[in-house]
Amino acid sequence: MLSDAELVRSFRGGDEAALGELIERHRNGLYAYLRRLAGDAARAEDMFQDTWVKVARNIGAYREESKFSAWLFSVAHNTAMDALRRRRPDNVSLDAASAGDTMRHGVPVPFGRPLSEVIASAEPGPEASYAASESRRTIDAALAALSPEQREVFLLRHYSGMSFREIAEALGVPIGTVLARASRAAAKLREKLAGEI
């Protein structure tokens, strides 16, 4: 099996199938990460596609010294943050109005209320089983207790496999800040999931 870096090289050489392989390889992890950040499936799909368009356009900027997944999630994170900043509560009401999102730094926080409640009422169909999951309700409630900054670090570390140092570089904050946020996130999750452990 070719490594990510080899697939990137192939894509740079004009092999579009190599990009398809990269998308497929990182599909579920990236989508799940964006889904947790975005708050709804449609927005997560848009972010997913926008991320890969940016990856294809800026593939020359990727350096093989770093992990492709780290670079990919950095692009995805920036794409998601841009999209969430652009999202205004008065013109995108599906989530913001129904979820009662909290605004921080002008960014709606999709976990202002357990995501499961929002999805359960707004998106029937395949998403319903996802929303109905007890485990999902519990973890969403626990994630909702984190600040956006803590949640950002926790989700990036969980889904991207980036080290804390790589996350610090991607977010442009000192490593100590990232570790402090991660520690607080862990402490809050421990508290919120205490009954589950």
Binding site: E16, L19, G20, I23, E24, R27, N28, L30, Y31, A32, R35, R36, A41, E45, F48, Q49, W52, V53, V55, A56, R57, I59, R104, H105, G106, P126, E127, Y130, S133, S135, R136, T138, I139, A142, S147, E149, F154, R157, H158, S163, F164, G176, T177, L179, A180, R181, A182, S183, R184, A186, A187, L189, R190, E191, L193, A194, E196, I197
Partner: protein
């Protein structure tokens, strides 16, 4: 945190693991992280069918469009770049003042917590260093007294 995510060097990891084995708080923290990870994994939504194909189509179209624009028609790119530089030069003086960013209370509180912890650490460091200095000076004075 670093132990759980495997980011400690082997030697430090062994020491941290040994500590965690005997520390109830650390064990609970590690268990909490493990539980959160398991619950995330159990409830992760799968990407919708067809998303990869659609994404590839868009990415290739978007990527190729820009690449061909830049590399195949470099003269147009060069002219545009020059125009962009001129635009920046012309409008630089008229750039609006940066708008102050809103900062959330939580961010301020976290920053204060970090700062307070740093001050606490500095105090501890300073007081211990000061005490050592005092002990050293006191011993020195004692020996000088003896010699006199």
């Amino acid at each position: 945190m670093l132990l759980y995510y495997g980011e400690l060097p082997p030697g430090e990891a062994a020491a941290a693991r040994a500590h965690a084995d005997s520390c109830a708080d650390c064990r609970r923290l590690l268990a909490g992280l493990g539980k959160a990870a398991a619950m995330l994994a159990a409830s992760d939504p799968a990407a919708p069918a067809g998303l990869s194909a659609l994404t590839l189509e868009r990415a290739v179209a978007g990527g190729q469009g820009l690449l061909s624009w830049i590399f195949l028609d470099w003269r147009r790119a060069a002219v545009s770049a020059a125009a962009a530089v001129m635009m920046v030069a012309v409008f630089r003086g008229a750039a609006p003042e940066p708008v102050p960013q809103a900062v959330s209370l939580a961010t301020i509180e976290e920053g204060l917590e970090d700062l307070e912890y740093s001050i606490y650490q500095a105090r501890v460091d300073f007081s211990s260093r000061d005490t050592q200095d005092f002990d050293y000076k006191y011993a020195d004075m004692e020996s000088r007294k003896e010699s006199v």
